[in-house]
Amino acid sequence: MGLLYQIFIDPFMQMGQAPDLLVQTLWEGLVGGVLYALIALGFVLIFKASGVFNFAQGIMMVFAALTLVGLYEKGVPAPLALLLAIGVMYLLALGVERVVLRPLVNQPDIMLFMATFGLTYILIGAGQLVFGGDPKEMPVTALGLPKGAIDLKILGGLVSLQKIDIAAAIIASIMVAGLAVFFQKTRIGRALRAVADDHQAALSVGISLNQIWVIVWFTAGIVALATGIMWGARSDVSFALQVISLKALPVLILGGFTSVPGAIVGGLIIGIGEKLGEFYWGPLVGGGIESWLAYAIALAFLLFKPEGLFGEKIIERI
Amino acid sequence: MADSRQDSGRSAVEDTFPKLLRMHARVRADRPAFRHKDRGIWQTWTWREVYDNVRAIALGLHKLGVAEGDKVAIVGANRPLLYWSLCAAQMLRATPVPVYADAVADELVHVLANADVKVAAAQDQEQVDKLLSIADRLPTLEHIVYDEDRGLRDYVQPNLSALDDIIEASAKALHSEASLGRSLDELIDAGRADDASIMLYTSGTTGRSKGVVLSAGRSVQAARDTVAFDGLTDRDEQLAYLPLAWVGDHYLNYAQALVAGSCVACPENADTVAQDLREIGPSFYFAPPRVFEAQLTRIMIRMEDASGLKRKMFDHFIGVARKWGEKILNGESVPVLSRLHYALGEFLVYGPLKNVLGYSNIRAAYTAGEAIGGELFSFYRSLGLNLKQLYGQTEAFLYVTAHANGAVRSDTVGPPAPNVDIRIADDGEVQFKSPGQFVAYYKEPEKTAETLTPDGYVKTGDAGFFDADGQLRILDRAKDVGKLKDGTIFAPKYIENKLKFFPNIKEAVAFGDACDFVTVMLNIELTAVGNWAERNNISYASYQELAGHRQVYEMIARHVDEVNASLAQEPRMAGAQIARFLILPKELDADDGELTRTQKVRRGFIAERYEPLVKGLYDGSKIADISTEVTFEDGRKGTISGRVAIVDLTRHGASQGSKAA
C-alpha cells in the first residue's frame, strides 16, 4: 500500500509542490532529449539511405568531438580545428564507403550491422591512439559558444538554464530544419529519399549509389560532430560518452528507424522521460535508473507498438 | 589366400552354387555376404540371411511352377534380390537367364522367346512395364516377380507379384512346415555338376545373340581356379556394378564370390557408382579400359584447376611414379632413395588419389574387353594399383588368360589361366580348352559344332600369338587378319589400336591384305588437335581444313613413325610397318555407316566408299581427290569433296629401331 502510494501518488505531489523543480527537470530532460535526437538523426539518415543499422553513430559523435578537442589541444586554433574535424569526418565517410559499404553491398543487413561494430572498435582504438584516452575539456568559448547560466525566477522558484544548453537546443533545431530543407529542396536530398525507396530510382536521378553513401555518411558525420560538441560542452569528451550515445538506440525504437520527426519526438520522450523517472522515481530504488530507464521505456513500447511511433506497419508476405 | 585354399579343399564336394551357398551359411553364417546402398545406408545381409532368403524365393518360384530344366529370366541392374532369384532358380535346378537391363523390347523378345522363359524376375516398374508390353509375344512366360515396388503398388495384373511378399509368405511356410525345408534340401542335394547352371546371351556383334549354356560343375571349377589364382578370401569386398547379363559380372560377382565367400556390394544406382565405390573400397575390382581412360581424363582435367604449386607437386610425383612405380609393384630391385621418394609420393599423391578414386584397398584389379593403351595401363600401375589384364570369353566362362602378379605388361594379356590349355591354329587363331568352357549354344547345335573343334577345343575367332616369355598377344578378329603379298601377317586392328593410343588420332583404318605394303587412313581427334593448333597458333576454319594442314600432317607423321618403330621391335610384325598414310577430310561416322553403332570401323564399307583414296594410297600418287556424302549434326545430307595429301614413310629396320625422317 505504502509502496503504491510512493509510486503513484507521491511523485506527482512533489511535482505539484515544487513546479520550479519540475520545470528544471523537464528542461534538462528536453536538452538531453535534443541531443539524443541528434544522434538518432544521424542514424536515421544513414539507415534511410544505405539501409545500414549504423551502430557506430554514437562513436562517430565521440570520435568527431575528440578529433576537434584533440587538435585544439595540439595547438590548432579552434575554428581551424573545427574545419579539420569536419574534414576528418569527410575522410571517414569516404573510408567507410570504400572499405565497408562497397564490399558488403547486397550482403544481409545483419552483416552490415556487424560491420559497424567493427567500425566502432576501429574508431575507439584510433581515436584514443591519436589523442589519448584521458577525458578532455571542450573549448566552449574558443568555439564561440556561450557559457554560464540564465536564472529565471518563475513559479516561485528558481530555474537555471545553462546557456550552452539553450545554444544546443537552438543549434539542434537549426540543424533539423536544415536537414529538412536539404531533403525536400535539394536535388541530392531528393536523390537520398529516392534511395531509401529503391536504389534504381536513385541512379535515375543521376547520382551513383557510392556518391550518395559518401554524402549521407558525411552528413551524419557533421551531425555527429555538432552533437559531440554539445555533449562535450556539458561533460568532458571521452569514450565514456559511448554509453550515453547508445541511448540513441531506444530513441530509434520509439521513433522508428526511418523517420526524422520520429527521431526527434523519440529523443524528447526518452530525454524527458528518463530525467523525470530518475528525479521522481529513481530514489525509490536507489537511483541511477537513468542507465536503463530509456531502454525499459523502449522495450515497453516495442511490445505494444513494434513498428515504432512513425514507422509503417510491416505486412509479412509469403 | 591360405584359408581360401583350405575352403576349396574342405568343400571340394560343392559342385553347384546352391551347395556353395549352403556351405557358407554354415561355415561363415554371420559374415556379410551382400550389401546394397539403399535408403541412405549399406543394408547388409549375412550368409545365413542370404541363404534363408534364397530358399524362400526358391520355394516361391517352386509354387509358381518353376521346376528342373525351366528357364527364369533375370531382368535389371545389380540388386541383391536379383542375384538371389538367380541362385534360387539354380536351387530348383532351373536355369537362370540374365538379360541386359537396357535391352529394348525386341531384343528382350528374342532372348526370352529363344530361351522359353517361364518366369521373369524384374528389378522395377520400368522392367515390368517392358515385360508386360511384350508378354503377348512370349507364350511361355507365365509369371513376373519384381524387386522395387515403387509405382507397382497398384498394378492389378494377376501374374505379377513382389519378391518381398514371396519371401515373407515362403519364410512363414518354411517355418511352419519342416517338410518344405526338407524337400528344398533334397533339391539342393539333387543338384549335379552337369546341370545347366546358367545361360548367358552373347551380345550380337556377329548375328543374333546366342544363349551360351554353362554347366554348374565347370563354372564352380573355373571359379575355384581363379579364386586361388588371385587369393580371394571371405574378407574380400567387391562392387557389383557391371551388367548382370555379362559373363564378367556373373563370374566375378557371383561365381567367384560364392566360391571365396567374399562380400558383394550393390551400388545405390547407376549415377552413384563412383561414390559407392569410394565408400565400399573394394579389394577386387574389374573395369573395361574405357572406364579407366575416361577416369584418367577426369583426373587430369580436375588437376588443371588445382593451384600451380599443387599441380607442380602432382606432376613431379607422377613422374617419380612413372619411373619407379611399376618396378616397385613388380618387386624389381629399386634404389633405396628412389623407394623413399616414391614413399613420399605415396603419402602426398598416390595414396590420397587412390583414396579419392576408391582404389585404396584393391589387391587385384582387372581390365579386359579391348586393347588398353600402354600409357594408360602403366599410369594406374605406377600408382601402386595392381591392375592386370585378362583375356576371356563367355564361351570360356571368362578366363582364358590372365596376368599373374608381378608379370604384367600392357601389350599382352598374360599366360594361360590355371588349367587352361591354349593352342594357336595354323591360321593364327587362338583356340583353348578351359575348365569352365561352355557346354553348347542353346538350341543351336550347328553353331556349337562350328565353334568347337573335333578334339574339343573352343575357337575364339581371335588371331594371336605367344611372345618370347609365353604371354599371349591378341592381334585381331581372325577373319580380319590377312597376309601381305610377301606373306607377313597383317593384323589391321593391331596396327589401328597402336595408332589410336595417340590422343591426336581418333580413328585409323589399315589396309594391306594381299597388297605389297600396309597403308592407313586416319581421323584426327578434333579437340586434341584443335588445342594443339591453338597452342601453335594455327588457324583453321573447319575440320577438313585442319585435317589437311601441313603441320598437322607432320605431327601425325611422327606418330605413325613411332608406331612403325614399335612394330619393328616385333619380329612377326616388322614386315607390316605402315608405308603410306593419309588423313581423311571428314570424320568417320556411324550415321554414314562407316562405323558400327559400337564405334567399330567397317573396313570393307570404307574401302568401297573411299575407293579413289585407297587407289591413291597404292598407286604412289602424292595426292588424291575424293568427294563423298556426309550427314551433318542436324541430319542434313551433303557432300564434301577435297584433295587429300598422301605421305610416304621410310620403314624401320626389323632389328635396330633407327629413326628416319
Binding site: K313, I315, I318 | R39, G40, R150, G151, R153, D154, T272
Partner: protein, 259 residues
C-alpha cells in the same frame, strides 16, 4: 457426390484485406477428400492469400473456414500444421542453412517428441526417435528420387530440385491436405513432368488431398479434378476442367490473356 462427409475443407464467404487493399472478397468453395483441387487466376487474383488464409497465416476479416467439419475462426499456422495441413511456397522457402535430409527431417517436427534431457545426451529415446524418423524420410527421399543430394546443403541446389525437396519436407508432415503454391514455377518441361508424376503419386498412394496453384494451364487441366478461378479476389468460376475451360468469364479473364 458432394455429401457433407466427403468434404475435407470448406471456405465460406471469406474476405481478406490489408489496410484498404482488398485481397479476397467473399469467396466460398470446398475441397473434397482425396481430390486434386486447383486454384487459378491472373497474377494478384488472391490465390496465394487464399492459401495463407487456409493454413492460418492470414486471418480473414469475415467468413469462416471449416476443416474436418469443424469450423474455426482464428487459428495459428502451427495449429493448422498439427491438424494436417502442409504447404509449399511460391518462391521456395527452404531452410537454406541445412541439408536436404535435415530439411525433410524438420518436416517431422510435430512427430518428434523426445525430451530435452535425452536430446542433451543424444541417446536412448532421442537417438531411437532420430533413427526412426530418418527411416521415414529416406522413404520420401527414395520416392522423390533425390538420393544423390541427400547430404547436400539445399542452398546450393538447382531450383527444380529445391522445389522437390520442399515437396519432400511437406510430405514428411504426412498431411491430410497439401497446399502447393505454384509447384512448377520456373521449371523446364521435364521437371514439370516429374513434378506432375509426383503430385499424382502422392494423391493416389497416400490418398493426400491436394490444393494447388499453378499458372501452366495445361498442367492444371491434366492434374486437377476441380478448379476454382479467382480474379481480383472474386471467385468467377468453379468446376471440373471442362466446365472451366468453356466458361466465358474465365476465357475473358484468364485464358484469353496470354501468361
Amino acid at each position: 457426390m458432394s455429401g457433407a462427409d466427403d468434404i475435407l475443407l470448406k471456405v465460406d464467404n471469406v474476405s481478406l484485406s490489408f489496410g484498404g487493399v482488398r485481397a479476397i472478397t467473399d469467396v466460398s468453395f470446398d475441397i473434397r477428400k482425396g481430390e486434386i483441387r486447383a486454384i487459378i487466376g491472373p497474377n494478384g487474383a488472391g490465390k496465394t492469400s487464399m492459401l495463407n488464409v487456409i493454413n492460418g497465416f492470414y486471418h480473414p476479416q469475415n467468413g469462416s473456414i471449416s476443416f474436418h467439419g469443424q469450423t474455426r475462426a482464428r487459428m495459428k499456422p502451427y495449429e493448422a500444421a498439427s491438424q494436417g495441413i502442409a504447404r509449399t511456397f511460391q518462391n521456395v522457402a527452404l531452410f537454406k542453412g541445412m541439408s536436404t535430409l535435415d530439411n525433410i527431417l524438420a518436416g517431422r517436427a510435430l512427430k518428434m517428441k523426445s525430451s530435452f534431457f535425452w536430446q542433451m545426451f543424444r541417446h536412448g529415446p532421442a537417438l531411437a526417435e532420430e533413427i526412426e524418423h530418418r527411416k521415414f524420410c529416406e522413404e520420401i527421399i527414395d520416392f522423390l528420387e533425390i538420393e544423390h543430394i541427400r547430404k547436400a546443403p539445399v542452398g546450393t541446389l538447382p531450383y527444380g530440385l529445391q522445389k522437390r525437396v520442399e515437396l519432400g519436407r511437406a510430405l514428411a508432415m504426412e498431411p491430410t491436405l497439401l497446399l502447393l503454391d505454384e509447384p512448377m514455377a520456373g521449371m523446364n518441361l521435364e521437371e514439370k513432368q516429374d513434378m506432375s508424376r509426383f503430385i499424382i503419386d502422392v494423391n493416389q498412394h497416400f490418398g493426400t488431398t491436394i490444393a494447388l496453384i499453378e499458372h501452366d494451364i495445361g498442367v492444371v487441366m491434366d492434374l486437377s479434378d476441380r478448379i476454382v478461378v479467382l480474379e481480383y479476389g472474386h471467385k468467377i468460376a468453379d468446376g471440373n476442367p471442362e466446365e472451366v475451360k468453356s466458361d466465358q468469364k474465365v476465357i475473358d479473364a484468364y485464358l484469353g490473356v496470354a501468361h
